[in-house]
Symmetry: none
Subunit: 302 residues, 2 copies
DNA sequence: GTCACCTCTGAAAGATATTTTCGGCGCGGT
DNA sequence: ACCGCGCCGAAAATATCTTTCAGAGGTGAC
């Protein structure tokens, strides 16, 4: 049977189509101007667009049928027909579940309580989007590779560097050999050591951070299994990635740099990786986890 | 606009399309045999039928396209196309109806898709809890202190160390002088330098991490304004804290160490601090933020 | 500044899906 | 057995969607 509601990224079937707005944001950078116009129109009023034919939507957005179809393709549907069907589903869902509709934009003069509420809401949204957009097949493949790896190297600079460290810390805890690199030179130097069976993971929101791509390329060329965690599934980094894990992109505002929501998103992905690996290597992971817990106990004051 | 989801019986537009089965029963008497076959098939599996073209459904029910269209008409839609759209909506609603019955505990044999869903849900929960439990007065006070600080030191070890670094990175971006310390000795050594007007922030989930409490105590005794970000507002760390920011504690399970949700919670608090400070120092922060953005641009490959 | 190149875009041709038409077929009545 | 009536599906007609192609517009090199 044809799968209509599955996320475009092809993941398993049960994904709710709620994440359309997120998908539009994620993919907007790889769209042309007129396609963006179409995508935005669709995201703004799914119900309305579901009632339109290709021609109708083309006229409404001031573009051509071809552009509408192209947009549908980018969004992950085989054609406009399927996008329209998904739109109808979305509309029905919206109708039953009433949108919460918070102006999630943070203003300079927002009282502190609003800041807390808006930030929390935003990050929750980011989590939902990420979960919806994550391709579980790719994730599973990455987990399998990690669980069997002799060694894992993780690359990330800037904010993503912290995420890389977080992942590394966790993997070390369950007995894997993992390293985080934020120094590009050392990263490349180490990447040369990798070989088939090893895993290299690059974390970059933009998907085009040279300092992170370079070591991944080297690892890739040396036969390691490579994973990219990025918000731009079409970015340069994916050239050298065997498995691509897409993080979601929230729109950023002046006061809320992209780094913030991308970090939330990346951490969720990284946690999923970790839990996945812990499951696969349970026999080894469980005792290792409690051992590390014990070891810390005495560092806590009475 | 064309009304798709309106009930066929013509009543007001907002009728939920759930009543399809009932409609089939009501109208069955006025249908011919083959039409009934079609109607029943559709009622039995809306989602499946939504994926079929007229021809497909005709074959499936062993009838012809014409009959399918006639059935759609009887059911109140202008044609098969619209019936199909409504069907898609119905399917989506059905799907969204289930699902929230997640036992948020992650088991060893959970499929990867469940892991993603449960983790996302858990972290969302954590965020909501944190936002609800955060004392905005204390937060406001901490922000005020930070915004005016000559210098800020942040202490955190282990997973909290990464949060400390995250905060530091952000504060540096808006022109504050901030340092993260994860080496307890260096932390203490530096804490001695602090004086009134400076800010020291300790991040510890347990509230009893000696390595973090010690530098905070020193800072406190040297007259700095001290802030504790902890999950245990009654823990030892709060002795030396002028302002206490409470993070939420989700219960941890075997596969899901506490570090995971405490990190989420801590990051939210830290983000709030950051945004708060950015608001207060907007004149200085805004240009600093865009400047740091510009500076990074060339590190991205075309 | 100009040229070559490349990408984006929409018009129109081509393919599919939906709707309509129309004649055949079965069924009940005479 | 024959007639009339209405259901049914094949195929034509139409609408909708998809693909192709050539021109417009922009970009970088020289």
């Amino acid at each position: 049977m044809k799968e209509i509601f599955g996320s475009a990224s092809g993941s398993s079937g049960s994904t709710p189509p709620a994440a359309l707005a997120a998908k539009v944001r994620t993919l907007a950078p790889s769209m042309t101007r007129s396609m963006q116009r179409v995508a935005e129109t669709v995201a703004a009023d799914p119900a309305g667009c579901a009632a339109l034919t290709v021609t109708g939507l083309a006229e409404l957005t001031g573009t051509s049928e071809a552009t509408v179809v192209r947009t549908a393709r980018i969004l992950g549907y085989p054609g406009y027909r399927d996008l329209r069907l998904a739109l109808a589903g979305l509309a029905a869902q919206q109708q039953s579940g009433r949108a919460p509709a918070l102006t999630t934009d943070i203003a300079v003069d927002d009282p502190i309580a609003d800041v807390v509420a808006k930030l929390a809401y935003d990050e929750q949204q980011t989590l939902a989007d990420t979960a919806a957009g994550l391709d579980t097949v790719q994730l599973g493949a990455a987990v399998t590779a990690l669980a069997a790896a002799r060694r894992a190297d993780v690359y990330g600079v800037g904010a993503s560097g912290l995420v890389a460290q977080d992942l590394t810390q966790k993997l070390l805890r369950i007995g894997l050999i993992a390293h985080a690199h934020s120094d590009p030179h050392l990263a490349v130097t180490n990447a040369v050591q990798l070989k088939a069976g090893d895993v290299a993971i690059a974390i970059t929101h933009s998907g085009s951070t040279g300092d992170v791509i370079e070591p991944l390329r080297v690892a890739f060329e040396h036969g390691a299994t490579t994973v990219a965690i990025t918000g731009r599934p079409d970015g340069p980094v994916t050239q050298y990635a065997d498995h691509i894990l897409t993080t979601s992109t929230a729109r950023e505002s002046e006061l809320r740099p992209a780094a913030m929501s991308s970090r939330t998103s990346q951490l969720l992905v990284v946690d999923c990786l970790f839990i996945g690996v812990a499951q696969r290597t349970y026999e080894q992971a469980a005792p290792a986890l409690s051992a590390s817990y014990e070891a810390l106990a005495h560092r806590h004051r009475r």
